[in-house]
């Protein structure tokens, strides 16, 4: 089923209960992400974008609606069914990196591969390859706490990609990074995307969103805009002059 969309969501709804009062976070979202597509989800805080991406990865349970991942229906899965699905098909990157503090960088990256049932040797090779790609080879034995935020997020990215998942989900991956580290993570994201990785990410950062093929805007738990970015180039190459004028 190679032509099946990587993700399909049909009328997805999430309602939290807060002190007996139902609080809708996501109110009927239809969405389709093709294989190899890079989709950014934007929206003000509280618009339900994190909830949406958590539901797509099975971290949060949907209230109603359907979720299809890679042609299979996933919303009816049990918690452990979701866990098994995530192992094989979904990689997650979080805002606060969430590396397992007690494990070394190498262990963090090897963990999903081992979890997927790969032999320790294969897991090590994959880890060496990924850390090499991300320029972190010499940090393999370090503890996460010894790394800078940018390095930690790169390790988290390596961990998410360890099992070559069909789908990479990211929740504000640069939300906790300064602009220099953001640039590193961005370059990595665009690299893996160029190699065919499907990415759905929630972001507030226009730089991240502008790299996506498509931007989905949420407001109050609903999609208000969904479309590819226009190629509005009037010159072969734009300049900052479109945005900034140096007065003179």
């Amino acid at each position: 089923m190679t032509d099946a969309p990587a993700i399909k969501a049909i009328n997805l709804v999430k309602i939290y209960q807060s002190g007996g009062v139902p609080v809708p976070a996501v109110r009927g979202i239809d969405m389709r992400v093709e294989s190899g597509e890079f989709v950014a989800i934007m929206g003000p805080s509280g618009s339900g974008k994190s909830t949406l991406v958590h539901m797509l990865g099975g971290l949060d349970v949907r209230t109603s609606g359907e979720i299809w991942i890679d042609g299979t229906r996933a919303d009816t899965l049990s918690e452990s069914g979701w866990a098994l699905l995530r192992r094989q098909k979904v990689g997650f990157v979080f805002q606060f990196f969430n590396l397992v503090a007690n494990m070394t960088v190498a262990d963090n990256v090897e963990l999903p591969a081992l979890l997927g049932g790969v032999s320790p040797r294969q897991a090590r090779e994959r880890r060496e390859y990924l850390l090499g790609e991300l320029g972190l080879t010499e940090r393999a034995a370090a503890a996460p706490a010894q790394l800078s935020g940018g390095e930690q997020q790169r390790v988290a990215l390596a961990r998410a990609l360890a099992n070559q998942p069909r789908l990479l989900l990211a929740d504000e991956p640069t939300g906790n990074l300064d602009s220099r580290n953001t640039k590193d993570v961005l370059r990595l994201l665009s690299d893996v995307h160029r190699k065919g990785q499907t990415i759905v990410l929630v972001t507030h950062d226009a730089r991240v969103a502008s790299m996506a093929d498509r931007v989905v805007s949420l407001l109050d738990g609903q999609i208000v805009d969904d479309g590819a970015l226009p190629r509005t180039r009037r010159r072969p190459l734009g300049t900052v002059g479109d945005v900034v004028e140096l007065r003179g």
Binding site: L59, V100, N102, L111, L114
Partner: protein
């Protein structure tokens, strides 16, 4: 599996100290249990130790003539042979008494099988043909020591003056006077002198078996092999039975402590695991986002913490073995038998898994979204804190009081983590007080008389006269102990006629009243239970064919025979059983030393036995109480340490704010100490109160179950309680002080959340 192992390894490496503490806690408890059980087994069944150390023979065969050793040796199942030795009956004379003895030939060199264990003096030597070695229980009953003269009269009437060279123990024969005649070892030459006629001696031969379970079979074969020569056979089972002490009370007390230890261990483990799991909620959530299933997380946590527990169990079992083997070589001869050993291992194993499983299960239910940091609930001021505010306590105390109860479950766990060990400690102190009571007031447990005198070959009146003449003897009660057959029961019970109805022995009556008339009796709890009767009922039994009908008018504390004893006045007995009295129980003047009086009476040729106080038999319990109190205290402190570490984790962000607001390090420290200390102090107080009020009831319950009967339990003395509370509070404040101090000193960074 590999992913889980990787995680376990990393986590254990990150908290070596905590892991070590967990292992030590479990190991400590298991060690205490193994040691206690070993002491119990050994203390109540000396046969095992004696038999093992003496490399005893399982079967002893008495024959008229020397049997066919080769054919016995060839019997299937016989591993080795002791003897054959000649044995001759003789009489110990002197001080106007005659006591039958059995002289048994023995080689000068220690033999491989069934060697007596020399306790005092020296062994036999060919250069000293007049020497004998006396079996210890017999020597004690007769007041013999190395160097004592040992005048012996043979069957031919000739007297020989021998000398006691040594005192030895043996697992081949029961204790005197249960097992008579008294055993005396001599060299073959000495035996020939005392009994020159071979026809009047018999031969004993001991068979050591490869498998003790084959005893009956081998006995049968030996009897067949020896045809009609066999006169008498005794087996290790009989010896063991005769040596066994009634150990129900001891066993129950130990069981109580065992359960207490296990509960405390479970609590400690659950606390440690729970604290750890709470501390790594984010990591667990991350793992789940990576694809760990709920069950996998639970299994991983159980495995990680369970491995620590199991490791602790193994360490404890080994340590227990080593301690009983090397640290207590005098008390303990044989390691714990495999049954109880396996039971301890299995029981603690189950407790470990059970107590680890609950927090692990909760850990497994962590939602998989790691982005939400586990923030403690911001409670409003608790009522306690408001009170603290009202009475104008310093701000640090108010803040601490607020912190103490923000996390309800956590607070509850901490309080019970301190209260349960404290309660068990108080119960332990209660047991201690009970034992003290036994020793200080033996009359309250039915042992008003410290000595019993048997007339032996004197006339009863003469014995009575000689005993009464001693200045330290305050009162003297004639008595007889007889086995009575109870209708509908296949077994006999012990009846004890002691004192007269008009002048009854001071039994400790705890229910009803003492007997005042013929036909009235008092009984121990065990007997009431056995017969299913109550105070006020009539019982009917036969003693030596004579029917006896008595009405039970009271229940007494009865430390002997598991309480299955019926006591009444000597005048209730038929004259044939009552006259002359078998013995006299001597109540001594208060302050008199029973051992001294016993020696004086010995010198007057009386056969005197000193009553064994149950507390002496239970004395190993004191050792166990001390050990358990230490372990329990450690567990309580470990719980507290976990709690304060957790509290610190919750408050780390607050600390920065508090410092910024202008709290001095000292105030910050006071806040933290108050937070945990308040919980600790309430735990200590609750535990002590519960323990003190429970201990009397619990010990009485045990007394009742063991047949001794309710009425022995004593609460710990107020002094003991106050001391234990003070020590506990002090220690717990110290324990909370250490992390608090470190936290107050450290620069707390604003953690990125």
């Amino acid at each position: 599996m590999r992913a889980e192992l990787r995680w376990i390894r990393a986590d254990l490496r990150a908290r070596r100290g905590q892991a070590l503490l967990t292992i030590l806690t479990v190991a400590g408890i298991v060690t205490a249990l193994v040691t206690a059980a070993t002491l119990l087994e050994d203390g109540t069944n000396p046969w095992r130790g004696l038999f093992t150390r003496g490399h005893g023979a399982h079967i002893w065969i008495h024959t008229k003539d020397t049997p066919d050793v080769v054919s016995l040796q060839g019997l299937d199942g016989v591993a080795d042979i002791a003897g054959p030795y000649r044995s001759a009956p003789a009489t110990l004379t002197g001080h106007g008494r005659k006591v039958p003895i059995a002289l048994q030939e023995t080689p000068a060199a220690f033999q491989a099988v069934a060697r007596p264990l020399l306790r005092e003096g020296r062994w036999l030597d060919v250069r000293d043909p007049d020497a004998v070695v006396v079996e210890r229980s017999f020597a004690r009953a007769l007041g013999l020591r190395p160097g004592s003269p040992f005048p012996v009269t043979g069957l031919n009437g000739a007297s020989h003056t021998l000398i006691v060279a040594g005192v030895a123990e043996s697992g081949d024969q029961g204790f005197y006077p249960d097992w008579a005649p008294g055993l005396v070892w001599t060299l073959a030459g000495t035996l020939n002198v005392v009994e020159p006629a071979p026809g009047r001696t018999e031969t004993v031969i001991g068979l050591r078996l490869a498998d003790p379970d084959d005893t009956d079979l081998v006995v049968q074969r030996a009897v067949t092999a020896l045809d009609n020569q066999v006169q008498r056979v005794s087996t290790w089972r009989e010896v063991r039975a005769s040596m066994e002490l009634d150990n129900r009370l001891l066993g129950l007390l130990l069981a109580l402590f065992g359960v207490a230890g296990l509960v405390a261990a479970a609590l400690a483990l659950a606390n440690a695991t729970g604290g750890r799991v709470l501390g790594q909620v984010r990591d667990i959530a991350t793992l789940k986002s990576l694809g760990f299933t709920r069950g996998q997380v639970t299994r991983t946590l159980v495995a990680e913490h369970g491995v620590l527990g199991v490791f602790g169990i193994v360490v404890g079992l080994v340590a227990g073995r080593l301690i009983t083997a090397y640290a207590l070589p005098d008390t303990v001869v044989v390691p714990l038998s495999s049954g109880p050993f396996a039971a301890i291992a299995l029981g603690t194993g189950l407790v470990v898994l059970g107590s680890v499983w609950l927090p692990a299960w909760r850990g497994g239910r962590t939602p998989p979204i790691p982005a939400t940091p586990a923030a403690p609930p911001r409670g409003h001021l608790s009522r306690l804190a408001r009170v603290a505010l009202l009475v104008r306590l310093p701000p640090a105390l108010v803040l601490g009081a607020r912190d103490a109860f923000t996390r309800r479950t956590h607070a509850l766990l901490t309080v019970s983590g301190v209260a349960i060990p404290m309660m068990m400690i108080s119960i332990g102190l209660g047991s201690w007080a009970t034992l003290d009571e036994f020793i200080r007031h033996p009359e309250r447990v039915g042992q008003a008389a410290a000595l019993t005198v048997r007339p032996g070959d004197l006339s009863a009146d003469e014995a009575r006269g000689r005993a009464a003449a001693d200045p330290d003897v305050a009162a003297l009660y004639p008595g007889a102990e007889l086995d009575a057959l109870v209708p509908w029961q296949t077994r006999t019970v012990r009846t004890r006629a002691l004192g007269l109805s008009a002048d009854p022995y001071p039994f400790p009556v705890v229910e009803g009243r003492i007997f005042r008339d013929r036909g009235e009796a008092v009984a121990g709890q065990g007997l009431l239970d056995l017969l299913g009767v109550h105070v006020g009922d009539r019982v009917r039994m036969t003693i030596g064919g004579t029917p006896l009908i008595v009405r039970i008018v009271g229940r007494v504390v009865e430390p002997e025979q598991d309480g299955e004893v019926l006591s009444f006045g000597l005048d209730s007995l038929a004259a044939k059983d009552a006259e002359p009295p078998q013995f006299y129980s001597l109540v001594l003047r208060s302050g008199a030393d029973p051992a001294e009086v016993r020696d004086r009476l010995h010198d007057r040729a009386l056969e005197v036995a000193q009553v064994v106080n149950p507390a002496d038999r239970l004395s190993i319990i004191r050792l166990i109480i001390v050990a358990l109190v230490v372990v329990l205290a450690l567990i309580g402190l470990a719980n507290l340490l976990t709690a304060s570490a957790l509290g610190l984790r919750d408050h780390a962000p607050d600390l920065a704010v508090l410092k910024a607001m202008g709290l001095t390090p000292r105030q910050v420290m006071a806040t933290l100490v108050t937070g945990t200390g308040l919980l600790a102090v309430s735990g200590v107080v609750i535990g002590t109160v519960a323990g003190a009020s429970l201990s009397t009831a619990l010990i009485d319950l045990e007394g009742r179950e063991s047949g001794v009967g309710a009425g022995i339990g004593r609460a710990p003395t107020p002094g003991m309680l106050v001391a234990s509370v003070l020590v506990a509070v002090g220690a717990s404040l110290l324990v909370t002080l250490i992390p608090a101090r470190r936290a107050a000193r450290a620069r707390v960074p604003h953690s990125a959340r």
